[in-house]
């Protein structure tokens, strides 16, 4: 068996980087854990966006650049609808909107482009991204909106006796993590236990074979886009409640790309694990590596979390092109 020493090397470097601030005593334990938790939290959000991304790529081979725009659109819809009605009605209504949107995208954009190469499909979703960004802000407005989930936002101090200073945690973060976990569990059940889920997996494995046993491809693609739309809605609501709903949401959602690269394009588990790794990695890098870099190179401020995820994914691609959980691809002439 081929030794994957380069993978181990990269993993070991990351691990050392992770433990180093703690081991050298550069940060108090409590603070370290806070950073870790914060990273995990961001990671959960990245995972949610990446999940929608991986679902679509798996089932239809479309590299959906528009997932971030869908997150923004869904969040805007919920935020504005919730101004006029109870939150849960707004969420149900917004789910309906996302399903209609998914159907329209599949029908108007992707079906005419069926059998085109991946690049053309990527471009098409870029077009959809621009369209959705403009459309969402035209319809829903372009200010900053709030989604209030009705959960207390005050940070809670826990484990005060264990560490000096305790750990500050947000109750909302935990709810978000729980929702994400529930969503993933629900998706897994849906994919593994229902007839539709089986059909979706069949299509993901082999379009033609699936079609030849009578699975309606068009309907499957609408379903997968609708599911991705729903995932985008969940991600949008959670992000919106934490950061506020604004245009930058769609930019932050771009981070889902390195996440799926890291996890492997077609893997749901990969999206989750990749999201957590990227979330923790970039937070750690920002908090612990950033000041070191600023000092060493006399920078005008940190902000390395803007690129850390991408460079990490890039390094990872160099040593393991198929990602953590991706399928190995063999080229033949």
């Amino acid at each position: 068996m081929k030794k994957n020493w380069s993978v181990y090397l990269l993993g070991a470097t990351l691990l050392v980087g992770l433990v180093l601030p703690l081991a050298t005593g550069a940060s108090p334990v409590g603070f370290y854990i806070e950073v870790l938790l914060g990273g995990l939290m961001t990671g959960v959000l990245y995972s949610l966006v990446a999940l929608g991304f991986a679902l679509i790529f798996k089932a239809s081979g479309v590299f959906n650049f528009a997932q971030g725009a869908m997150v923004l659109f869904a969040a805007l819809a919920v935020a504005r609808l919730a101004e006029a009605m109870p939150l849960w009605v707004a969420i149900v209504l917004a789910t309906g909107i996302m399903v209609v949107l998914a159907w329209l995208i599949e029908r108007l954009v992707l079906r005419p482009l069926v059998n085109q190469e991946g690049v053309a499909l990527l471009m098409a979703t870029l077009g959809v991204t621009y369209f959705l960004d403009g459309f969402g802000q035209t319809v829903w407005g372009s200010d900053i909106y709030k989604i209030d989930l009705g959960i207390a936002k005050e940070p809670v101090m826990i484990l005060e006796r264990l560490f000096e200073g305790g750990i500050l945690v947000n109750k909302e973060d935990f709810v978000a993590a729980l929702v994400a976990a529930a969503l993933v569990a629900g998706l897994v059940l849906f994919f593994q236990k229902t007839a539709t889920g089986r059909a979706l997996r069949a299509v993901a494995d082999d379009h033609q074979a699936a079609q030849s046993v009578g699975i309606p491809l068009n309907r499957i693609w609408v379903i997968i886009w609708a599911v991705a739309g729903f995932v985008a809605l969940v991600a949008g609501v959670i992000w919106g409640s934490q950061l506020g709903v604004q245009f930058s949401l769609s930019q932050v959602a771009l981070k889902a790309l390195p996440v799926v690269i890291l996890g492997g394009f077609t893997s749901i588990a990969g999206a989750i694990v990749g999201g957590l790794i990227i979330g923790v990695g970039e937070k750690m890098a920002e908090v612990f590596l950033g000041p070191v870099l600023v000092k060493a190179f006399d920078l005008a401020g940190g902000g390395i979390e803007n690129w850390f995820a991408y460079v990490l994914a890039l390094l990872f691609l160099l040593v393991r092109p198929e990602g953590l959980f991706g399928e190995k691809h063999i080229d033949r002439v």
Binding site: F63, L113, F131, G134, P258, A300, N306, V311, L314
Partner: protein
Amino acid sequence: MLYRENGQFKSSYAADQQMLPILQDRLFMAGLLAFAFVVVPLVASDYLFLSLINPFLILALAAIGLNLLVGYCGQISIGHAAFMAVGAYAAYNLALRVPQLNFLVVLVLAGLIAAAVGILFGIPSLRIKGLYLAVATLAAQFFMDWLFARVKWFTNYSPSGSVSTAPIEMLGWTADTPARKYLLLLGILVVFTLVAKNLVRSHIGRAWMAMRDMDVAAEVIGIRPVYAKLTAFALSAFYCGIAGALWGFVHLGSWEPLAFNLNLSLNLLFMIIIGGMGSLLGSYFGAAFIVALPIILDQIPLWLGIPISTATASHLSFMIFGGLIVFFLIVEPHGLARLWSIGKEKLRLWPFPH
């Protein structure tokens, strides 16, 4: 009737290999060049130069650069504005620190630096391809954005991070008016288009196209992937670096950090998609389209007399932009260049149907 190759016999290899084999094409090109070099500077207004023509020329150069990589070599990049940024900041620092250098020398050096960075970020393309590579190029985009915003040396320790350039002067000739800038840009663009045209029809361009069409098969017939891919990255980044330097020096004059952001990268990509991948002419069409579209979209509410707030107008133009891209992909996936060649085919037969 008028446009056909009948009776134009080729009696030497040189005649057979010329760039424009049909006499009418050569006449058209000569007329076009004369028009661009003589008539346009006389008739166009300063506003037209500054808002439309000069950006078009620069972005056409950048689009050619991206097209070399994406259209000819088949390696997707959604981070090419990063190479424009490298070119712009390299040119800025060269002009600042070595003031006696001629502007053209600065340009070429900036292009070379961008090419070196291009090779660096092209290395992943040896292991990964397609959509994976697209994300890898995003790394270039975000890393460069950060680098030029944060490392103070690049911006000469300016407190706001924005830089401004000195006027362009070469051997006593100053590019101070919009028309002079136009002539400078046009000259550079013509030269580089010629170079690109000859690149893509020489062995190196053919190696790129073989990589694009099927990399494994290309390797089997003896094309070195390392050489083909890295030269494509280097030349593409070289073009974009020069375009970036021109964008900074000639078009913007002074620019903030993030002037070369992801949006610019995506716009470059749209240019070659709408214009036509793997076509130099398409790069021109695409650049013209993308430069002109927002201006036209801004004007439409004024013409119609509908009062729309600027925010709504910009959102609407986003929508129309996105819609048009999808429309183009569905209706004419090979871009405007294909429409042009269809038109030429039709013209050869005109006025007969077959």
